[in-house]
Every structure is written in C-alpha cells, then in structure tokens.
Amino acid sequence: MKKLMLTSALGAAALVVTGAAASAATLDDVKAKGFVQCGVSQGLPGFSNPDADGNWSGLDVDLCRGIAAAIFGDGDAVKFTPLSAKERFTALQSGEIDVLSRNTTWTMSRDTQLGLNFAGVNYYDGQGFMIRTSMEINSALELSGASICTNTGTTTELNVADYFRANNMDYELVAFEKADEVVAAYDAGRCDVYTTDASGLYAQRLKLTDPGEHKVLPEIISKEPLGPVVRQGDDQWFNIVKWVHIATVNAEELGITMDNVDEMMAGDNPSVKRLLGSEGEFGAAIGLDNDWAAKVIKAVGNYGEIFDRNVGPDTPLGIARGVNALWTKGGLMYGPPIR
C-alpha cells in the first residue's frame, strides 16, 4: 500500500513537468513544438467562437491562424486556449500561451504595467449600450437611474462609471464574472441596459431570447482598440505578430485576395512583390521565409475578407465596416509600408 502511494505521488509529480517551456525566443519554441498556442475568448460569436465540433472561428481566431500560416505555411497549426477576462494576462505572462488574441483593449496601464506589448489593432471598437426597444429610449443620456449589467474585469465597468459621472447621472451596476451570466440576467429583465464593446453587443444579442426586441444605442462612450498582445522582451515575436496583421491590411489595400495571391505575385507592382516576397528579403528580417505574407493571405485572406467573413454585413452579426474600413475609404486601418 505504502509503495503504491509513493509511486502514484511521484507519477503525479512527473506529470507536472509536462507543461510547455517558454523562453525568450518564442519563435524557436513555436517552431520546436510545431504550433502556435493562442489565447482566445470563451465564446464570442464573430471574434472567437467554437462550433459544436470544437472548431474555432472569428476575427481574433483568424489572426492566430495568420500567424501560424506565416510560420508554418499552415493556418491550422494553431491551438486555442479559451480564457476568461481575469485569466488572460496571467496566461500570457506565464508562457501558457504565445499570443493573446481575445478582444483585448489596448490601454496604457496594460501596455506598461503588466509586462505586455500590444502588437497593433485589428478591430477599432467602442463601448455601447443595448436596451429593449419597448423602453422607447433613443439616447444614452436618458439612462439616468437605470440598472446596468456588465462583466467584471474589463474596461467597460470603468468607462460606464466615467460616462455617468461626466453626465451627472445615477445608475446601478450589476457586474458578473462571465459573459453568459450577464446575458442571462439581462435577458431575464434584471437590467435595463447591457453594456460592453459595441461589437460584443452585436454578438451577444444573438444569444437573447428575442434578438429583434433589443437595439444598440447610437452613443459610443469609449475608445476600445482591440488587438493582439504578446509578452514584453521578445522583439522578434512582437514583430511577427505585428506584421502579420499589417500584411492583411496592406493586402486589402493592394487588392490581394485569398484567390489571386499567385497571380499578383507574378505581377509587376513593386509594393505587391515586396509584400508577397518575390522581391527583397523582408521575411528573413523577422525570422521567417520571404513568402510569409503570401502564406498568410492564402490561409486567411486579406483584412477585408477576414472582416466580411466573420462579422461583416452578411453575417448574423451584421456589423458595418465603419471606422474599421481602410484609410483610403475613410476608416482607420492603415498599414505601414513594407520597404
């Protein structure tokens, strides 16, 4: 009996060390293990959501697939770790994941105090309010005295506080740990208002009993640039994540799509050739092959394709491009040149 216990205890101890080892050079680790470990949400339609078979899809998921494609040429060489708002930064800090792509707002304190780096913005969001149509309210300024449901652990809680304070309005905050419970409580009538990032509102509205009875108010009360996050102190990996996103944006601007990559590569446009690697040695500078961007586009398409596929007007979410359009079309998506 005694020996059995000892054996099982040591066995358990041995298991403990099976976790992935993360060191300074994330790219080497990723190459060694053969996949990218990507932190995503626990289920937010359009951004990172698993289907019934456990396949992930969404805007944030496609970014991870793009990174995997840039490294391995295979958009499926990626594993997803669903994380709560609370766990997400610890998971990245401890090396459990390589990149966090989980509709995370870029703020100064997060960028500077948590040992993290934001590698760009793949969705410009802002916090909005959702209410029942039957309430006959058309502006957030009429919400004084309302009960407001939201998640803890996000910037939304502080934004709503600032907004109501600035407008001298009173409110009751009901803050839940998980998004599913916020939706359930709002649906059950606990709150008049549900607030989170506008994109989240559109996504969560699909989960309500009767989505048609709810509307999103026009006011956007905060800036929520959402983007991928990496650990501080590994510039190579930081660059890879940053440029994978930029490549998708530039590809849209240059008219490169998933289908015409090969044609474009053979074309004459020098910008296209530099991006797709038929000219110059830009891939080598970040430790990848020169056709890294071509692999990304082949796997997930350009930014416009990613957007339309996951959250665009033809999806259940039906979000317009708005500020997420290219800078040439009046939006904020602006990719630095590759040269």
Binding site: T7, S8, A14, T18, G19, A22, K178, K207, T209, D210
Partner: protein, 445 residues
C-alpha cells in the same frame, strides 16, 4: 390502580385472567393509521392540512413542467417556444424542452471531445465503473487485485487514453536517474547508521525506481492515438475527472496529514495543523482563483501547467485537508489498546501503522470518504467560475446557442442538471449509509 385500592377494602382478589379483548377498532386498519399519524389532535390536523396545501401548490406545477407539458422531440427552438415567441406552442405554454437536452446530450457528457475519439472516453468509463463496482460491492472477490488495478493500471491507462499519450518526458530520464542513485545512497547510509541490513531497503528503492522508469517509458510511448487537449474536454467527463482525481490524490496526502497531526513530533504536527486548518478555513472558489491566476507566478520561468491540471491541484490540496480530518476521526475512534498491543508486539511506528492501525481506521472511515466524495462531486461545479466546462458549465454554455434559445431553455438545463446531480449524490449517500450499517457491527464498544 383502582383495583388494588379496592382489593385492600373488600378483601377480594381476582383469581383468574380476564378473557382477552379485541383490540379497539380505532387503533387498527387504514382509518386508524390516518387518525394516528395524520389527525391525532387539532394542531396535527392543521399541520397535515397545511402540508397537503403545500404539496398541492408545489408538486403539480413541477410535474407539469417536467412531464405534462414537456416537449420530447424536435429539431430546433420552434417546438419549445410559444407562438408569441416565434414557436408552435400555444401562448402561456410552460414546459421543459427535453428535445434540446437530447440534442446536446453528447456535448453534456463529453464536452467538445472529438466524436471519432469518444470511444476512448467510453473505455475509460467502463474500466473505472467496472473496477469501482468490484471494489464497492462487498461480495465481489479479488479486492486486492482490484485495488492494484484501480490505483496503478487505471490511472495510467486513463491518462494515456484521454490525452492520447506520447507525453514529452524525455527530459525526465536523467533527473530521475540522479534521484535514483541519490535515494540508493541515502538508503544505504541510513541502514548503516542504524546498524541494520541495507539489502531489503535497497531492494525496495530499486524496485520503486525501476517502476518509475517503466512508467516514464509508457507515458512517453507513442500509441498512435490522436492528441486531445484538455480544452476539448467537458461535461460529465470533466466533472468525473476532477472529482475522482481530487479524491484519489487527497487520500494518500490526507492519510499522511492525519498521521502528521497525531504525530508526537512537534514540527511535523505543526506543519500538518497549519496545512489542514488553512485549507479548511478558506472557500474553494478562492483556492481555484489562486490556482488559476496566482499559481503560474510561483513556478519557475518557462514551466506552465495545463489549466485543468491547475484546477486539479487546487481541488486536491483543498480536499486533502478535509480527507485528513476524516481519517483522523478514524484514527481517534480506534481504542488505545490497538496501539498499545502493536507496540507490545515490538512493531515499529511504520509497521504499527501499516499493519494494525491504518487497515482498521480506513475501514472505519469508508462512509466518511464517500461523504467527502459527494461533497467534492458537488463542489466540482465551482470550476465553471474559472472557465472550465464541467457538467453544469457545459449546460450553461449551451444556452448561447441560438438554435435552441427559448425562455424555457435555461430552466430545462438547470432542471436536467439538478436531476442528474441528485441521482448521483443520492445513490452515493445511500451507499455510504449501507456501508455504515455494515461496518457498524464489528466496532461496538
């Protein structure tokens, strides 16, 4: 009384017994039972009527929801929504949507475990429940073999089947070899210093390490199974993995702690008490928070645990403190004579515990262990707060599926969860009571 009184007065004493009388009609039969147990006095009658009213208020709506108005078949939300909500049911309808539960049954049991690989989970389930049944039913023979199976073969088999095996253990061979040499040296030195024959000790240690090397080899062996990450696990699978691992890990640790707490060695006792009281004094949810956000910070850079494994560590630490107290109860229940008898036979502390005390004490606390397990089984629901999908968590997460979204969906899910948990826990508690009665006979003092 009156008879005795009168006997003294008139000097008459009855000589023969009176003929036996019929039992009074009012104390037999159905009517009498009703009178006796329901309407024996005015307050009782009021109480009975009140209870009947309570039953009338509570039971019919529940039955109507669960059975009467329930929907058993269907393919989407339309069958479980009223016309006003865009469905086919008449307005005002309120019933359980079992069709939704049926549609999701697979996910409730396996989580997102790939469909084609679910046979692996099934095998683990059969091995576990088969082994457990053999262990729990007193009349089944081969208990010893069964324990060895459940404590050695089963965990390894389950680990490999569930994860897919082929675990990266290459880096562990050399540290283990160093450890083995070290242990052999220490054993030898210890035996020499205590003037005893080093051979048996060396043999034991060598056997242990050979076993560990074999274990490492098996864990690292590629059986050709697909790797399934724990993120894909969910539902009943996760609930059982957490509860069973928690209880299995807490048993040895709990025994060690219980022995430590009753030890004569002050430092050992101090550490044991601090450990036990600390974990017993804090809520499980803070332990889970700790293991999910704080534990990663305590590990050396570069080492990280799987999320499920972190929760398991938290649960195991927590339940081992409770287990320690259960075992301590068993140790205290043994008469002092057992200890004294063992010592009189010249057994040392280890032999006394192994051969005399623990076998008796552990037998005594089987009901307590089962009760701890029931508690743990219920407490596994808490892992949904840290974002793991246990049975309840999986049910909750299915609420976000628009295919089945309807006002009765959540109620149905919760009702289903409640029924399932109830069946599990109630049968376990009955088993614990059965064992208690069975074990009771030998230990009347």
């Amino acid at each position: 009384m009156a008879e005795i009184h009168s006997a003294a007065d008139i000097a008459y004493v009855r000589r023969e017994m009176l003929p036996e009388q019929e039992a009074p009609g009012s104390s037999r039969g159905v009517v009498a039972w009703f009178r006796e147990s329901l309407f024996s006095s005015i307050p009782y009658t009021i109480l009975t009527l009140f209870c009947l009213y309570l039953l009338w208020v509570i039971v019919p709506p529940i039955l109507s929801f669960l059975i009467g108005s329930a929907v058993w078949t269907g393919t989407d939300r339309a069958v479980c929504a009223t016309e006003a909500q865009g469905g086919i049911q008449p307005n005002g309808w309120f019933g359980a949507c079992w069709a939704y539960v049926g549609d999701y049954a697979n996910q409730f049991i396996y989580g997102r475990y790939p469909n084609v690989e679910q046979w692996r989970v099934n095998i683990v389930g059969v091995l576990f429940f088969g082994g457990l049944a053999g262990l729990l039913i007193p009349s089944v023979p081969y208990k010893r073999e069964n324990i060895i199976f459940l404590s050695i073969v089963f965990p390894i088999a389950a680990l490999i089947l569930l994860t897919g095996g082929d675990i990266a253990v290459d880096g562990l061979y050399i540290p283990l070899a160093v450890l083995a040499v070290l242990a052999l040296v220490v054993t030898y030195a210890f035996a020499k210093l205590s003037d005893s024959d080093p051979l048996p000790g060396l043999k034991n240690v060598a056997a242990l390490f050979i076993g560990l090397f074999v274990l490492l080899f098996i864990l690292g062996f590629d059986f050709g199974l697909m790797h399934v990450e724990t993120e894909m696990w969910g539902g009943l699978l996760v609930t059982l993995v957490i509860a069973v691992t928690g209880i299995a890990a807490s048993l040895p640790v709990g025994i060690a702690l219980a022995l430590g707490r009753r030890s004569a060695l002050p430092i050992v006792r101090f550490f044991s008490i601090v450990f036990i009281e600390f974990w017993r004094g804090v809520p499980l949810i803070t332990v889970l928070f700790m293991s999910s956000v704080m534990l990663p910070l305590f590990l050396p850079e570069g080492v990280s645990f799987d999320k499920l494994l972190r929760a398991l560590i938290g649960v195991a630490l927590f339940s081992s403190a409770y287990m320690a107290e259960v075992v301590r109860g068993g140790l205290q229940a043994l008469p002092k004579g057992q200890y004294e008898g063992a010592m009189a036979l010249g057994l040392n502390w280890g032999q006394m515990m192994r051969m005399i005390i623990l076998p008796q004490a552990l037998k005594l606390v089987i009901p307590g262990i089962v009760n701890t397990f029931i508690g743990l089984f219920k407490d596994t629901t808490l892992v949904l707060i840290i974002g793991l999908f246990d049975f309840l968590g999986q049910i909750q997460s299915s609420y976000s599926d628009p295919t089945w979204a309807s006002p009765v969906q959540a109620m149905t899910g919760y009702a289903f969860a409640a029924i399932m948990y109830w069946v599990f826990c109630f049968s376990m508690s009955r088993y614990s009571m059965f064992m208690e009665r069975k074990l009771d006979t030998g230990h009347k003092r």
